[in-house]
């Protein structure tokens, strides 16, 4: 049983508020991802929970008990970092079992029990053949798996994993994510996982807390965040390539609400009428539309569609199983993603169809979502 709660936590270094009035609860057994760009404050949050930093203001709770003043070693938390911090004078085996032999756990495990545990976790993380190697002989990816195994061999109340698989190559990353998620599901140990990588966050997180400049931007399930991002920052963080954003203007015509993107009118879905009240009409907004929601259509099909614009292809990027087209429309640049190769040429005009079902609209000044 372990529930972690931060209540109005602020952390200041010198004059910098690295963490600003942060409140969230990570539930028992949850895989909780902290996502944000570098410098967002992710590592500081981890350090605060681990007890390596003290909050300037606010409280940290473990199971409803304030732990601000509890020593790190009494918090029963296992921590794995991006930069491993393995013991170079010990071999892989000794590194992995190190925490089981620490003085505060003295005599808790027999030599045989330790051996079983080390072998078990080494098999899971596919480093069994490395157990007798020296740390200095390992590649970055191997070190990272050793560091993970060392952190996960204990059964603490909480795991803290800070960019714990950042240095693995593509193949190992996929495998390690699967292993990690399987491991966590099986043990049901509360896990906080910090990463700048949205793919990783979506793959692993039961819920994701998005942090920027030390401030919580959104906390929700991956699906909800993708569909209903609180603001432009969150919208841009999710999805690859990033969501296209344009300045636009809302107006009404023939009972419809439309957006004018520099001369191209797009009709919003009917249900937008109820939510976008009259005060929004005439206002300047930011329109967000995902690269998969714009398609290129043939000249002959143009009458079958509404919400059409004419753009010009500027760049084509190939990714093996998909294509990304950079397009210019009314002076704005944006991207389209397609699984198929389209019959288009650079610097040629194309007809674009905007799928309006998933369109997002944000307030121009606050950048907060106003629709849907």
């Amino acid at each position: 049983m372990a529930k972690i709660m931060l209540e109005e936590v602020t952390k200041t270094f010198g004059e910098n508020n690295v963490i600003n009035d942060l409140t969230f609860t990570c539930n028992d057994g949850e895989f909780f991802v902290i996502l944000g760009p570098s410098g967002a404050g992710k590592t500081t949050i981890m350090n605060l929970i681990a007890g390596l930093e003290e909050p300037t203001k606010g409280f940290i709770y473990l199971n409803d008990k304030v732990i601000n003043n509890v020593e790190p070693r009494h918090r029963n938390i296992a921590y794995a970092f991006e930069n491993y911090s393995l013991y170079p004078h010990l071999n892989v085996y000794e590194n992995i079992c190190f925490s089981l032999k620490s003085p505060i756990r003295k005599d808790q495990f027999s030599k045989e029990e330790i051996d079983v545990l080390v072998n078990e976790i080494a098999i899971q993380f596919q480093i069994k053949e490395l157990l007798n190697r020296s740390i200095t002989q390992l590649s970055g990816g191997q070190r990272q798996r050793v560091a993970l195994a060392r952190a996960l061999i204990r059964k603490p109340e909480v795991y803290l994993l800070d960019e714990a698989i950042a240095h693995l190559d593509a193949k190992l990353k996929h495998l390690t994510r699967a292993i990690l998620k399987g491991f966590q599901r099986q043990k049901r140990i509360t896990t906080l996982y910090a990463t700048p990588d949205q793919l990783e966050a979506v793959a692993l997180g039961d819920r994701i807390a998005i942090i920027n400049h030390g401030i919580l931007q959104q906390l929700d399930t991956p699906e909800k965040i993708y569909k209903y991002p609180n603001n432009v920052f969150v919208a841009r963080l999710f999805g690859e390539p990033a969501i296209n954003t344009f300045p636009g203007e809302l107006y009404s015509k023939d009972e419809n609400i439309l957006i004018n993107i520099n001369g191209t009118p797009l009709v919003l879905p009917d249900n937008a009428k109820e939510q976008l009240c009259t005060k929004n009409i005439g206002s300047h907004v930011i329109v967000g539309i995902r690269p998969i929601d714009i398609s290129i259509i043939r000249e002959v099909d143009i009458n079958k569609y509404s919400n059409i614009g004419i753009g010009e292809i500027k760049l084509i990027e190939y990714f093996g199983d998909s294509f990304i087209y950079s397009i210019k429309l009314n002076g704005f640049s944006f991207k389209i993603k397609s699984d198929q190769e389209l019959d288009v040429e650079i610097n040629k005009k194309v007809n674009l169809h905007f799928k309006m079902d998933n369109i997002l609209i944000f307030d121009e000044s606050t950048e907060k979502r106003i629709w849907p």
Binding site: G182, L199, A203, Y318
Partner: protein, 374 residues
């Protein structure tokens, strides 16, 4: 603008062959990528082209000119690194102007050129800012502007955006492409990131252990990898590589995968018809199949089905999933198109798209279609 020709290029560090007998021709105005894992020799190759690294053996030509023994300054190249190496005590303007200033170009001419390139690189508004206070993306643009202001014959880029954040990387990628499309400078781009190489380069040279594995367009390297290494290196999620055997059943070629017999891919049939002797009993091979080239079903209604269990589901945005399927001791990655909704720990039925199966020699890793015309 010249083409760049590398002839039997070798680089040794002590006893280690960092680059082994490299032969390459990079076309005039081409965007060419050197791609490979760390230690594959790509950066050594680039540094030899730049003249920063002594050449152990072989020659480099820019057009008809042999530049092997020329110092870097006389090669008319520009180099941009990952770590920018900007002068932190100077502002943006002075950083960009620096290469012209040391050449004693008149200041009016410098001013004209700096403003021109600044406009092109969207740096006009920050010309007077100190580079220390710029964002990573801005610093990168200043670095590129400084490199390009000399109008080099060849532009060399060494992992220029690898360590930028995903979103910044995305926009820098587009920016570098735009620069290349507009200026048409022969560009050699070193990276370990296959997505960067695939999306930007006209042709890619994939290297491993100092040797060329394949030179080709992104589509050739993705669609027709010459060996197992290239197959596994290109594509995200990476290609599945598994053991399979080729056998005959009633005079028909078949593939055996996870003890299931499936249809033999037609495109490889000619290899074996020509060379029947290799098929006494079973021939063990490596089978490569990309995660996008596997179809999923809830029921076992189709032919050629392989059965597995859903071990892990990675939701991707856009409603797609990457499914980790456990088959015996093997973990297979499958990428769905979003219409199939997997469920954890349930049975899943898979079908490999026959045309997109790749077969590699079990020992050499070479694509079995290399025996026939490719």
């Amino acid at each position: 603008m010249p083409k760049v020709i590398l002839k039997n290029l070798c680089k040794k560090y002590g006893d280690v062959n960092a680059v082994e007998n490299l032969n390459l021709e990079i076309k005039d105005k081409e965007f060419f990528a050197l791609l490979g894992p760390s230690g594959c020799g790509k950066s050594s190759t680039l540094r030899m082209i730049a003249g920063l690294e002594e050449i152990t053996k072989g020659d480099i030509y820019f057009g008809d000119t042999r530049v092997t023994d020329l110092p870097p300054a006389e090669r008319n190249i520009a180099l941009a690194f990952e770590n920018y190496a900007l002068y932190t005590h100077l502002n943006v303007y002075k950083n960009i102007a620096f290469p012209l200033k040391i050449r004693k170009i008149p200041s009016e001419e410098i001013d004209k050129q700096v403003k021109e390139i600044a406009k092109f690189m969207q740096l006009t508004d920050i010309l007077n800012n100190n580079v220390r206070f710029l964002s990573g993306g801005q610093q990168q643009r200043v670095g590129v502007a400084r490199a390009l202001i000399r109008r080099p014959a060849v532009f060399l880029l060494d992992e220029p955006i690898s360590h930028l954040e995903a979103k910044l990387k995305e926009s820098m990628r587009t920016e570098l492409l735009r620069i290349h499309n507009d200026l048409k400078v022969t560009t050699i781009y070193v990276t370990h990131d296959q997505a960067e190489a695939m999306s930007m380069a006209e042709r890619i040279c994939i290297m491993n252990f100092g040797k060329i594995q394949q030179v080709g367009t992104p589509k050739e390297c993705y669609g027709n990898p010459v060996n197992e290494f290239v197959a596994g290196f290109i594509g995200e999620p990476p290609m599945n590589l598994l053991n399979a055997s080729i056998l005959t059943e009633n005079n028909f070629l078949k593939l055996e995968v996870f003890s299931k017999k499936i249809n033999f891919p037609e495109k490889y049939a000619s290899v074996f018809k020509k060379n029947n002797s290799c098929l006494n009993g079973k021939k063990i091979v490596k089978l490569g199949i990309r995660p996008v080239d596997i179809r999923c079903f809830n029921t076992n209604k189709e032919d050629n089905i392989i059965e597995g269990e859903v071990n892990f589901i990675e939701p991707r945005s856009e409603g797609k999933f990457v499914i980790n399927v456990k088959i015996g001791d093997f973990y297979l990655l499958v990428k769905t198109d979003g219409t199939f909704k997997p469920e954890l720990n349930t049975k899943i039925y898979l079908k490999f798209i026959e045309d997109n199966i790749h077969l590699f020699d079990q020992n050499t890793g070479i694509n079995l279609n290399r025996n026939v015309s490719v």
